[in-house]
């Protein structure tokens, strides 16, 4: 089945230690997104790629970076995780001509 896959499902990292979350898709969608969802809050868009074009949301901290080496893969890099970065990170994809986004299962990040 075509899908959006996030690895790992659970990630524990140390305070200040760089961490990378990965996302892959078999839907061949040209747009990929990273959302952050903290407990009992709305998912919040961090940034997205439209094809190779990177688009950062205005309030996304500089601590968060992203890479998209090809259509299928997208990575979220957190350079120096703080305790406040503990959250569920959701990857999503969509075709550029439709609004519905398809989500992966998420990665639960814990910072210790």
């Amino acid at each position: 089945d075509a899908m959006v896959i996030q690895n790992p499902r659970y990630q524990v990292t140390q305070f200040g230690k760089p961490v990378t979350l990965s996302c892959s898709q078999t839907l061949n969608h040209n747009v990929m997104y990273w959302y952050q969802q903290k407990s009992s809050q709305a998912p919040k868009l961090l940034f997205h790629y439209y094809d190779k074009d990177f688009n950062n949301e205005a309030d996304t901290p500089d601590n968060f970076q992203s890479r998209r080496p090809n259509t299928s893969f997208c990575f979220l890099d957190i350079r120096s995780p703080g305790l406040g970065d503990a959250a569920m990170y959701l990857c999503a994809t969509s075709r550029g001509d439709i609004t519905e986004a398809f989500f992966g299962q998420g990665t639960r990040l814990t910072v210790v």
């Binding site: 959006v4 009992s40 709305a42 998912p43 868009l45 959701l90 609004t99 519905e100 986004a101 989500f103």
Partner: protein
């Protein structure tokens, strides 16, 4: 500044009855609205959507109503089933495809519990 709000954190309904989940928004530029369902330990799954040019969209047991003047939308599930128990997120977009594609602004979610 929360542009999409779901003011009911939770809703409990008996099996077979109607579930009504509500959502309010403040940005009048939103013109496409979606509902997502999320089970524990899974990502959100697209459920149903509505464009601002419509006031109702129906898909099986699920109907979404949009009241643009009130900046309010609701999701009706009839009849409710225990398998519908999940978190429901309302989301809004500034453009249907084209301009804003899948950039979504989400509400906080409503936990629906359907009792047998």
């Amino acid at each position: 500044d929360q542009q999409v709000k779901q003011n009911s954190p939770s809703l409990s309904v008996q099996e077979g009855r109607i579930s009504i989940l509500n959502c309010d928004y403040t940005n009048s530029m939103f013109d496409y609205f979606l509902w997502y369902k999320k089970y524990p330990a899974e990502g959100p799954t697209f459920l149903i959507s509505i464009s601002s040019i419509k006031d109702k969209n129906e898909d099986g047991r699920f109907t979404v109503f949009l009241n643009k003047s009130a900046k309010h939308l609701s999701l009706h599930i009839v009849p409710s089933q225990p398998g519908d128990s999940a978190v429901y997120f309302c989301a809004a977009s500034l453009g249907a495809g084209g301009t804003s594609y899948g950039k979504l602004t989400f509400g906080q979610g409503t936990i629906l519990t359907v009792h047998p």
